[in-house]
């Protein structure tokens, strides 16, 4: 689930997040926390872009399957005719 920056900051307010170096744990400084939120937002955006790209590929594949069906063909028939292994 994609979170806005405000939602993320509300979930992890400054003072609630720690960093650990070997056995020692301490609260993040404000500068560290700001950079950490930036990084999380970037990671989330990249992952959402990946998911959107995959959804677009799935939609294209589904559209092609529906066009084949309209012609009276199935994916299995196409695979058999051309010796292809279509992605599942």
């Amino acid at each position: 689930m994609t979170m806005t920056r405000a939602e993320y900051e509300a979930q992890h307010p400054l003072g609630s997040v720690n960093v650990q170096h070997d056995g020692e744990t301490r609260p993040m400084t404000e500068a560290e926390w700001t950079a950490w939120v930036d990084q999380a937002m970037e990671a989330q955006a990249a992952e959402q872009a990946e998911a959107d790209a995959q959804a677009a590929k799935d939609a294209t594949r589904q559209s092609a399957i529906e066009k084949l069906a309209a012609l009276g063909l199935t994916v299995d028939e196409i695979k058999e005719a051309f010796g292809l292994e279509a992605p599942q």
Binding site: Y8, Q11, V17, V19, D22
Partner: protein, 202 residues
């Protein structure tokens, strides 16, 4: 290291050049590098265990890579995390390196029992696995040549409450890395451990 003979250790017996530990006794090698063949340590040698604290964004395991071993196994068991996100490992040598990674993770994505393949990538760290937003996340990765002055590779597998998969990564600097900083790309983690093992060179 002092030399012991079979007769000097209670319980050990020798027959036809085979040394046996009788039932009810155990052989305890206290030094992780103490079990050797031909003068070299054998198998996986435990380097460190770091217990994961409470609400931590990351854990740095320092000085876990050295010239002693070329290759390592890193096992991460996280008891709980707050967000769905990649589990990332950033190499370091005093300070954390956040660039020059090419990392990919492939997963069955949805809840166990539903197959819906997906992938994620990162350029800011080795992907070690994927974290669930509540429950346990486990991953195991081999890390190749972190301390050698060449690129570093890693590959491994993960499972968590919702899904599982595998991941491959590399870091292209020639830095001799000594540390690894592990944590979720978003949110915090609480509880569990990070174990680092070295593959004996012999």
């Amino acid at each position: 290291m002092s030399r012991l003979t079979v007769g000097s250790i209670e319980g050990l017996t020798e027959n036809s050049n085979v040394i046996s530990v009788p039932t009810g006794h155990s052989l305890n090698v206290a030094d992780a590098g103490g079990l050797q063949i031909g003068g070299s340590a054998v198998g996986l040698v435990h380097v460190s265990r770091t217990t994961i604290g409470t609400a931590v964004s990351s854990v740095t395991v320092s000085n876990c890579f050295s010239s002693t071993y070329d290759n390592y196994k890193v096992i991460v068991a996280i008891d709980s995390t707050t967000n769905n996100s990649q589990c990332v490992g950033q190499l370091g040598a005093g300070s954390v390196t956040t660039t020059n990674y090419n990392s990919y993770l492939y997963t069955e994505q949805d809840a166990w029992g539903t197959f819906s393949p997906a992938s994620v990538q990162s350029t800011s760290g080795l992907i070690l696995g994927y974290c669930d937003n509540i429950n346990v996340s486990h991953n195991s990765n081999d890390i190749i040549s972190p301390y050698r002055a060449t690129l570093t590779s890693s590959f491994g597998f993960y499972t968590q409450d919702d899904n599982g998969g595998f991941q491959i990564s590399r870091q292209t600097d020639t830095t001799q890395f000594t540390d690894i900083t592990i944590g979720p790309a978003a949110g915090t983690m609480t509880g569990g451990f990070i174990d680092v093992y070295g593959y004996a060179k012999a």
